[in-house]
Symmetry: C2
Subunit: 198 residues, 2 copies
């Protein structure tokens, strides 16, 4: 593996290459859509051979799937919030989720993820598969025994609120600070999380 670039401050080696390809791919998918993005253009911007992208990700669909993962750190934050006593799960989940959107670096990654997942049919299909997998995992680890519908409604509520606040920037929501938002939304999330499937 030759050094892909002479720029300083860039991560080096295979892992650095992979992360850099993903960062560039997210921008291409978000700005040009799934159909408009090409492995060749992404490889070119990364200063890498297109064969290396194929080696890492297979094809464009594989690359898309990789960009739709939660950004590093976010998955851990989220997992930690889900585990723990049910009585405070609503507040933990609400705070963890909105905090990811408050932080600029995570927000940009989430924004691109949302744009890619909702902006093209291919992105939506892959995101549906990933969500079904995540929920399946939570059921298997017994975090969500018999509470799948409530959990899904809670997460849908959090997603919609984040979209309204950070993407559509609806004034009624941008006016709240994080603490006000968590205090207002948490009780609803808690009520959904405590709901048993019927």
């Amino acid at each position: 593996m030759t050094s892909p670039t002479k720029r300083s401050g860039r991560p080096q080696g295979p892992t650095g290459n992979r992360d850099r390809i993903l960062a560039i791919a997210r921008q291409h998918f978000a700005h040009r859509g799934f159909r408009g993005a090409t492995l060749r253009a992404i490889a070119e911007e990364a200063g890498l051979d297109v064969a290396l992208l194929a080696h890492y990700f297979g094809n464009k669909d594989g690359l898309l799937a990789a960009t739709l993962q939660l950004p590093p750190g976010a998955a851990e934050t989220f997992g930690a919030a889900v585990t723990g006593p049910l009585a405070t799960q609503g507040a933990r989940l609400t705070r963890a989720y909105f905090s990811m959107w408050e932080d600029q670096a995570t927000r940009e990654a989430l924004l691109v993820l949302v744009r890619t997942a909702l902006g093209s049919e291919a992105g939506t299909a892959r995101m549906s598969e990933l969500l079904a997998q995540h929920i399946g995992n939570l059921q298997r680890t017994a975090v969500l025994v018999n509470r799948t519908t409530g959990f899904t409604l809670a997460m849908s509520h959090l997603l919609g609120t984040a979209l309204a606040r950070h993407v559509l920037r609806v004034p009624g929501l941008t006016a709240l600070d994080l603490e006000q938002l968590v205090a207002t939304v948490s009780p609803m999330i808690q009520a959904y999380l405590e709901r048993a499937d019927t």
Copy 2:
């Protein structure tokens, strides 16, 4: 999808042209993104001169703004649900909103609207303006006096749930029928609607 003008059952004249251009534009914005869509390609598919599109909508941004309006009928349904006694506003709004998504014709229009609004930066910017206008109108007509944040949270919740059910097709939500969904979500929407701004 060619020979649009010769098909019977198509609306004729200026209004028909305008609706047909909007329908085609929605598909182009949804599939190619704002950057990929062109007035020329949309005019070509409509079998109309590009000058006529410019006459109706000004430029591509004007055309985008027109596609982001609620589909005909949906705006009236929604307006009717918002007006009326506060005590049952949550159930009316929840049922009206999810019913729009249940109906195939409206759902497709809403899907394209969501994809366009969230899939490109230009679409998001125009949708933000439109939402701020809509909320401003509701405040002026006194439907939302001192309840803007609660209303915004209610609508964000409904949006997120519709995205999870009809776009991402999360199993925990697709398993519910409309009545179950309305019964589960309405109490939360009602609680938000009754919330006074602080």
